[in-house]
Symmetry: C2
């Protein structure tokens, strides 16, 4: 049952992250964000499959079935939301001639979503988010971390950054420039 | 064109807020959150209608039409996301016997979404969010404000609270209790 709970929470977090990334992918013609949505799409589908399987296995009575139905409906909604996000990301991947309104949206918004990989030797490696105070130093907020095939949604101050992590961050272009240099081991924390 | 831009940004914000509220409505059996989703559903539908109308009026050539198509697809995705959120909220309004997993999800989560109306005489009236430092005092974050028939999404430190505003806030139950007393004019800011 604990695994069903974890799946449910992950589907919620996943679908919310996908929506966030998908809007950025189209409104800011952000292909990195679009690619992450496609990565997450596979995950949301396989979680939905898993929750269906577990629910069917756990269903022993009419009461069980009624209670489990609501779980399946939540999972279904998460997949629907994820699919809508994927449709937006597909537009961005395919490429389109942007309407001038998109330029206006970008000018109105101070922040965008960025992706960066933590390269060997980076000063961020083995430090916790709380320890390096990224949002104080650079104004950037880490919204998720992709680590090999797993995701950390909404990392907190105790989350440790490892070499090879892919950070999905939100903030200004100036903040991104600094953070990207840190990730690429071009500057150290003491230099900012 | 500026109005199309505003509609687009509002649809994005609306659909994200609906998803946030909808998950809370089901996972925490939160009927207040469900009711707000239903309020927002009307708005997202009427904005989608408006953006379609404006796009058709603005389309003068094949190039126009191609560029406008992407706008319509974004609006369509926002409506799809909103509809998925509404399906979840409907479950919560209708009521259901919760699966034990929901209890586990609630125990895992420290925060919930709450709604409160700013009553006459409240110490919060005519003060800005920055001025009263709610998140420092109570740990509560205002995620949106409903003011008569309009919504303020992602209010910032300069947003002034008015009498009659309905605040949608996220945080702990303890934080909510304090904030609710402030809203109901049962305590003043000096007392917390």
């Amino acid at each position: 049952m604990s695994s069903v709970k974890d799946i449910l929470i992950e589907m919620k977090n996943l679908s919310e992250l996908m929506v966030d990334l998908a809007y950025s992918s189209v409104l800011f013609q952000n292909k990195e964000a679009a690619e992450e949505v496609l990565n997450l799409e596979d995950r949301v589908n396989s979680l939905n499959y898993e929750i269906k399987k577990q629910s069917l296995l756990a269903s022993r009575s009419v009461e069980d079935a009624e209670k489990l139905t609501v779980l399946l409906e939540v999972a279904e909604a998460a997949e629907t939301i994820g699919n809508a996000a994927k449709d937006l990301a597909d537009l961005s991947i395919k490429g389109f001639e942007p309407h001038p309104v998109f330029k206006m949206v970008m000018e109105d918004s101070e922040t965008n979503i960025y992706r960066m990989k933590i390269e060997s030797g980076s000063d961020l490696i083995n430090k916790s988010l709380g320890n390096i105070l990224l949002s104080n130093r650079t104004g950037m907020r880490v919204i998720s971390i992709r680590r090999d095939l797993t995701w950390i949604y909404g990392p907190n101050k105790d989350t440790i950054i490892l070499e090879g992590d892919v950070l999905i961050v939100k903030g200004t272009e100036a903040g991104y420039d600094i953070l990207n240099k840190l990730a690429k081991n071009e500057i150290t924390l003491d230099e900012i």
